[in-house]
């Protein structure tokens, strides 16, 4: 179980695809469990106009519900079958955004307590220039635009900076490894047994 974390939806998706492709070539299996597999956020985006939007806390609970779906239908079956699965994004990306929006870390640890720990965690660095096209291609973008639409007082630039800071701290504590193309080769290289 390989987690790919980051706050750029397109960068996380691209890294997940390359990891899954390499795993598939090396082992014959390896799929991606992506955000919004349950369709919760797609349906949320289609909600009728005039309804009050979700707060950061409500969005976090919805992300956790989507994650419960992914654990049940993607992650647990793959692991039970002895197959590799790339989960992108997983828990830390959601925590980064929620903490940046002011939610308590202890509460987030509890909410996501049902999800299994990944064997490896990669962190995908955000591109230097954020996409300015307004594309809604990941949880981070969806979370930020939902807060803005809902009138949340958190400044989006501050949200990005704080969530990046959280992911940087994970890297510094070696809880996540910086993702590079070289990591794909390293991960899929046959391991030699040492005596």
């Amino acid at each position: 179980m390989i987690a790919v974390e980051g706050t750029s939806g397109s960068a996380v998706a691209a890294a997940a695809r390359s990891l899954a492709r390499a795993l598939h070539d090396a082992t014959g299996h390896g799929g991606v469990s992506a955000w919004d597999a349950s369709g919760i956020f797609t349906e949320l985006a289609a909600a009728e106009a005039g309804i009050a939007g979700p707060s950061a806390r409500t969005l976090t609970l919805l992300y956790a519900a989507d994650l419960a779906f992914r654990v049940r239908w993607h992650i647990a079956p793959a692991l039970d079958a002895g197959e590799s699965v790339v989960v992108a994004p997983y828990i830390e990306s959601a925590k980064a955004l929620s903490i940046a929006a002011g939610l308590p870390r202890r509460w987030l640890d509890e909410v996501f307590g049902f999800a299994p720990k990944p064997h490896v965690c990669y962190r995908v660095k955000e591109p230097r220039r954020r996409e300015s096209s307004g594309r809604q291609n990941g949880y981070s973008e969806s979370f930020t635009s939902a807060l803005v639409a809902n009138g949340d007082p958190t400044d989006p630039a501050e949200l990005r900076a704080r969530s990046t800071e959280y992911l940087n701290s994970l890297e510094a504590r070696r809880r996540c490894i910086r993702f590079t193309p070289g990591e794909v080769a390293r991960l899929t290289r046959p391991q030699t047994r040492r005596r």
Binding site: S38, I40, E43, L44, A47, E48, I51, A52, G53, P54, S55, A56, R57, T58, L61, L62, A64, A65, A68, F69, V71, R72, I99, A101, G102, L103, P104, R105, W107, E110, V111, G113, F114, N150, G151, D152, P153
Partner: protein, 247 residues
């Protein structure tokens, strides 16, 4: 700010109990009485957020929910209503009558086998109600009252966890577990237990008496974290309190 608001805020009254306990009937009578007393009264019903309810409904129809998803979606629905309906109404002084509250989730989800500690955390920060009326009936009465009008629905009957094909048989098994959980909650959280096997009129009179004698739970003592969380983030909340320093 909370001290100042304490005098003018509305009361939060929760009606809890198993299906078929008659709490919705009592809630309607109670609300009518409150209005006749000149109070503004607002009702909030379980799983009724206009944003989240459609998501839950579709997933219930296809019977695709695990206990964790079931719990988390209902928690999202609850949080959305709390922030957009309940707290704004209380803040402006209205009495909020909740037809099921947090304890419904605790009883049902614990009956589904989820850890109680985890459930409590999911609903944090908790806005404790001033009064909780618990409508106590036996599993048999609950089952008879439900069966008299309709067949229990899949999740209502707990068929997702009992593995029993017959909805009514599954309901009887599941509601017995739910009632056991409720009875524990009633002790721990000091519910006012109403014997819901009695006549509608007797129950209503007892509810009025309890309400008139009940002590409110002061926000500064009970609900600082929940109110601060709402004031710091909710779009419609007054912006006079600083953001709670959580990080």
């Amino acid at each position: 700010m909370l001290q100042r608001r304490e005098a003018s805020r509305g009361l939060l009254v929760a009606f809890e109990g198993p299906d078929g306990s008659g709490k919705s009937t009592q809630r309607k009578l109670f609300k009518t009485w409150l209005k006749s007393e000149g109070r503004e009264a607002v009702t909030t019903k379980w799983n009724s957020s206009p944003l989240i309810k459609p998501l839950v409904k579709v997933r219930k129809q296809v019977r695709a929910l695990s206990p964790e998803e079931f719990c988390l979606l209902h928690a999202a629905d609850f949080r959305h209503r709390l922030e957009t309906e309940v707290l704004p109404a209380l803040w402006r002084g209205a009495t909020v009558v909740a037809d099921r509250y947090l304890f419904t989730a605790l009883a049902r989800d614990a009956a589904r086998g989820l850890p109680f500690d985890w459930l409590l955390h999911i609903y944090e920060p908790i806005l404790w109600p001033d009064i909780v009326f618990y409508f106590a009936v036996s599993p048999e009465t609950s089952g008879m009252r439900i069966a008299a009008t309709r067949e229990p629905k899949y999740y209502e009957a707990g068929q997702d966890i009992t593995g029993i094909d017959d909805p009514l048989a599954s309901y009887t098994t599941f509601i017995s577990r739910v009632i056991r959980e409720y009875e524990s909650l009633a002790i721990v959280f000091q519910f006012i237990t109403i014997d819901a096997e009695r006549s509608i009129d007797e129950q209503h009179r007892e509810i009025r008496e309890h309400f008139q004698q009940a002590q409110r739970r002061p926000w500064p003592d009970w609900n600082v974290e929940a109110i601060a969380d709402w004031l710091a983030r909710a779009p419609d909340a007054p912006r006079a309190m600083p953001r709670a320093a959580h990080v």
